[in-house]
């Protein structure tokens, strides 16, 4: 009745927002130039300097800015859930830029793989072969959404680099632990560090992405610098920020929110308008940056990425495996 799942999400979206997207595209080009040329110098005092500057990013034509209307940079970087720096939406932008260092940064590949290694982030990006830009929808479990032009690389490339053994079935992602510089970690309620997980077949899906930037600029600290997970068909909390370790395992890792409230947050966390959160409906969402009278937008199954990911969950009861 109220829930509508269009078969071809890309077409309908592009016809609705072509002009606005075109204008934003120019803005993005501008920001990109600015980012490549001046980011290091001009943005340093604001703490925006992070690793992975100096890797020009090319738009992936499969996920173009013209298909969706990207959310303004200032909203993407000021409305954040990053409890390591406080539970308020404006806390991360404030507290993640007060002495917390995201460069140099290393990430460890470990577990059931043939090529365990620890990489410097910049060396990793170079080894993977540079960055690409993808414009993805971002749907938070709190029923709001954005559209983010991410820069980064497919997670599948990193998995290939790790070379998993046949018994590896899952990936366990671990974020950083630094209570001295991350004020939110001084409270122990969440059980730091933050942990997330994916099935191996989810991790090598074409959509699974490791982001190192937004709008052609290195990720600001509050968005999870220097590298974070992006799984656009899942709720935002799956997108673990500031990753330090990826472990390949044979059993499903217990992700942080599932450990805290298993009746509300599961392992899969796939966007599903038909399965409500116990405290609110997931059938629709507020679009960030839409203003007071923007109204709500219908939430799409798998956040509009049904075509790419529905096959992963054939035969799985999604009301039980939420």
């Amino acid at each position: 009745m109220l829930i509508r799942t269009p078969k071809d999400w890309e077409l309908s979206e592009s016809s609705a927002t072509a002009e606005a997207a075109y204008r934003l595209r120019n803005r993005r080009e501008f920001l990109k130039t600015l980012g490549a040329g001046l980011a290091g110098v001009a943005l340093a005092p604001h703490g925006l300097l992070a690793a992975t500057a100096g890797f020009p990013s090319k738009e992936n034509p499969l996920f173009p800015a013209s298909a969706l209307k990207p959310t303004a940079y200032e909203f993407i970087t000021s409305y954040n859930n990053f409890y390591e720096f406080g539970t308020g939406k404006d806390d991360p932008a404030k507290y993640a830029n007060r002495g917390w260092k995201t460069e140099p940064w290393t990430v460890e590949l470990t577990g059931l793989i043939r090529a365990p290694a620890t990489f410097d982030v910049n060396a990793l990006v170079a080894k993977i072969g540079g960055l690409e830009q993808r414009v993805y929808r971002h749907r938070c479990v709190e029923a709001w959404s954005m559209v983010v032009p991410w820069d980064g690389f497919p997670l599948a490339k990193l998995v290939a680099l790790a070379d998993p053994k046949p018994e590896a079935k899952f990936l366990k992602f671990t974020s950083f632990l630094d209570p001295k510089n991350a004020v939110g970690q001084q409270d122990s309620y969440l059980g730091w560090p933050y942990v997330e997980g994916l099935r191996l077949d989810e991790a090598v899906n074409e959509l699974a992405f490791i982001a190192t930037g937004i709008y052609g600029k290195p990720l600001p600290n509050q968005n999870g610098a220097p590298l974070r997970l992006v799984t656009p068909w899942k709720y935002g909390f799956k997108g673990i920020k500031s990753i330090v370790k990826i472990e390949f395992t044979d059993r499903a890792p217990l992700n942080t929110w599932q450990r805290l409230a298993p009746n509300e947050y599961g392992f899969y966390a796939n966007v599903n308008p038909q399965v409500d959160h116990p405290r609110w409906s997931q059938a629709s969402e507020r679009v960030i940056g839409g203003g007071i009278f923007a109204g709500r937008q219908t939430t799409l199954m798998f956040n509009g990425y049904e075509k790419q990911v529905a096959g992963l969950y054939k035969g799985l009861d999604l009301t039980q495996n939420y």
């Binding site: 409305y79 929110w257 409500d276 940056g289 007071i292 709500r296």
Partner: protein
Amino acid sequence: MNSPLEKILRAKPLVYTLIILPGLWPLWPLFVAPNPSVLADPLKYVLHHLGFVACLLLVIVLTLTPLRVIFPQSRPVLALNRHRRLVGVSAFVYAALHFSTHLLYEGGFRVLASDVKKPFLLTGLIAFTILLLLAATSFNRMVQILGAKRWKNLHRLAYVAAALVAYHQAAARKLFPVQVLWIFIPLALLELARIAITVQQKRHAATSARMG
């Protein structure tokens, strides 16, 4: 003898100002000093703010009676108690604004169908209904119509509303918000002290009656 403090506390304009100002607060991050984190979803900010003010006013009005029982001689406390109806009705007004914003935020009345199935939202709805009932019966004439005893019992529903609001507020966030404790623990302590004093007074009265 009226102390200056008492005079200030008795004044209606001051109370009106203190009640209205918090409602205007969202204008600051929305217009005066625009805060992108608020502008990202301005209506959500307004929604939460109005609910928070409603909750504070409800708790404040409920502390007035216990304060009077605990400090029966304090003239400032007695002065504050003159504003009970005004504070109580304004708690309802903020709750009504909060509820209207909820409807606007969710896109109309149809959200009520799913609200009643979720304890987080149902508790808010019941609390609002109680406040509506109490505001509607807050006129002097209603005391006569209902009879003092019945009117008083009806208005004791405010405590039920407060308990529901405590749950409603605690369930509003992904993690338990500590502010709920800051708001409701002082109220609970005052109520406990008030009950202890009332019980003691009753026992004392009974003893005196027997001895007399």
